[in-house]
């Protein structure tokens, strides 16, 4: 048995154990921590499968941003949770059976693959140079399946609308209820001053390098969002009210530019989301840059939560 195989087996066992911990943990907080650890371990598993793009997304979105959202939800639930009624046994059994069926179906698909695996990978790689991109994942996201990517951003906007719609009428357009550090903490302020310059550089680099190497607008945008949240939590900048026009413009600029270039494809390339021959790369860069801004602002606002007051504290 090679060292790499022993590592992979150990990682697999650890993943299963942490997943079991997340399900079995008695408090919401402990389950959330288990979920975050699980996401980080899963990112390592993706690296072992040579899917670095997926690993970066899992670490940044799956574990990082989602973990933060779940943590803030757990903090909110702490007040009302003791009084909550636990789900009944029939419901628990039904959920367990559904999960088991999905697991069995997935296992069957992996253990008994079809004799001839249908794949578009050679065709995708053959035409990749025409897009000016070097990373096949970026090629799929912005050329072959760009409609999926566009809809993904629409889903992100819908999620933000969902969070905002939780606001009571009297606070509409007000300031999100992000939990900021009450006392000004010198250490946290130092951290929020020293890390963002580096983090912003890394976030922009991740998006830029995504054309030829693992990375991309989503991962880079998540890093930017976290830097913004850090600055807000430390109290260096106020949480902006959701009614502010410049902020709403930043939220929609990415999807709108993406859609506009997609519509222009009818005239320039004869198809929705088509790029004129030879100009694919510049169009993709414009889309990626604006998308990164929108993703960063949207993720930051998702973490900030629904508006809870009108006046700054």
């Amino acid at each position: 048995m090679t060292v790499a195989l022993a590592f992979d087996i150990g990682l697999g066992i650890l993943l299963l154990a942490v997943a079991g911990w997340a399900v079995a943990a008695c408090s919401t907080y402990a389950a959330t921590i288990a979920f975050i650890v699980y996401g980080l371990l899963l990112a390592i598993a993706w690296v072992r499968l040579f899917a670095v793009d997926v690993a970066l997304t899992e670490a940044a979105i799956g574990s990082g941003v989602t973990g933060m959202l779940l943590l803030s939800a757990a903090a909110r639930l702490r007040v009302i949770e003791p009084a909550a009624v636990a789900a009944g046994t029939p419901l628990r059994i039904a959920v367990g059976i559904s999960c088991a069926l999905i697991s069995v179906a997935l296992a069957a698909a992996i253990l008994f693959p079809p004799d001839v695996v249908f794949t578009l990978a050679p065709a995708a790689m053959a035409h990749l140079p025409e897009s000016g991109l070097g990373n096949p994942v970026a090629g799929v996201l912005f050329v072959y399946r760009s409609l999926d990517t566009l809809l993904e951003k629409a889903v992100l906007l819908l999620a933000l609308l969902g969070v905002w719609s939780l606001a009571p009428d009297r606070f509409w357009g007000g300031i999100p209820g992000l939990q900021v550090y009450r006392q000004r903490n010198a250490i946290l302020i130092f951290f929020a001053q020293i890390l963002p310059p580096l983090g912003i550089m890394v976030g922009i680099y991740m998006t830029w390098v995504g054309a030829d190497h693992p990375g991309g607008a989503f991962q880079g945008g998540a890093v930017l969002a976290v830097m913004w949240i850090l600055v807000m939590i430390a109290g260096l900048r106020d949480v902006p009210p959701i009614g502010q026009r410049w902020m709403r413009l930043l939220v929609v600029v990415g999807p709108v530019v993406f859609l506009a270039i997609g519509l222009a494809g009818f005239a320039l390339a004869g198809a929705f989301l088509g790029y004129p021959a030879g100009y694919a790369k510049p169009f993709i860069i414009v889309i990626e840059v604006t998308l990164q801004i929108s993703i960063a602002v949207t993720l930051g606002l998702l973490a900030a939560g629904p508006p809870e007051r009108i006046q700054p504290q």
């Binding site: 903490n185 250490i187 946290l188 130092f190 951290f191 020293i194 890390l195 580096l198």
Partner: protein
Amino acid sequence: MNFALNIFTVLAVAAGAFFFLAGTVGLLRFPDVLTRLHALTKADNLGLGLIVLGLLPHAGGLLGALKLIGIWLLVQLSGAIVTQLIASLTRQDGSRA
């Protein structure tokens, strides 16, 4: 020369792994939050530092080596900050209780 570098790597990474092991034992065995944090920071600083030191000859050039050192510095920074924040929260809770 190559042999000596490999010996150096094995020794440094093994020493780093020892600090991670000791830090984990401390995290599990120490009685309160502050001593557990103390154990944890040893793993972050010395453990990761020694592993990075041991891997430097195999980083594939100056840029790779600088990236490894950068990662170590970032982990040290975030580890130190988070430890301070947890410790100050613990002290606040202690004085209130």
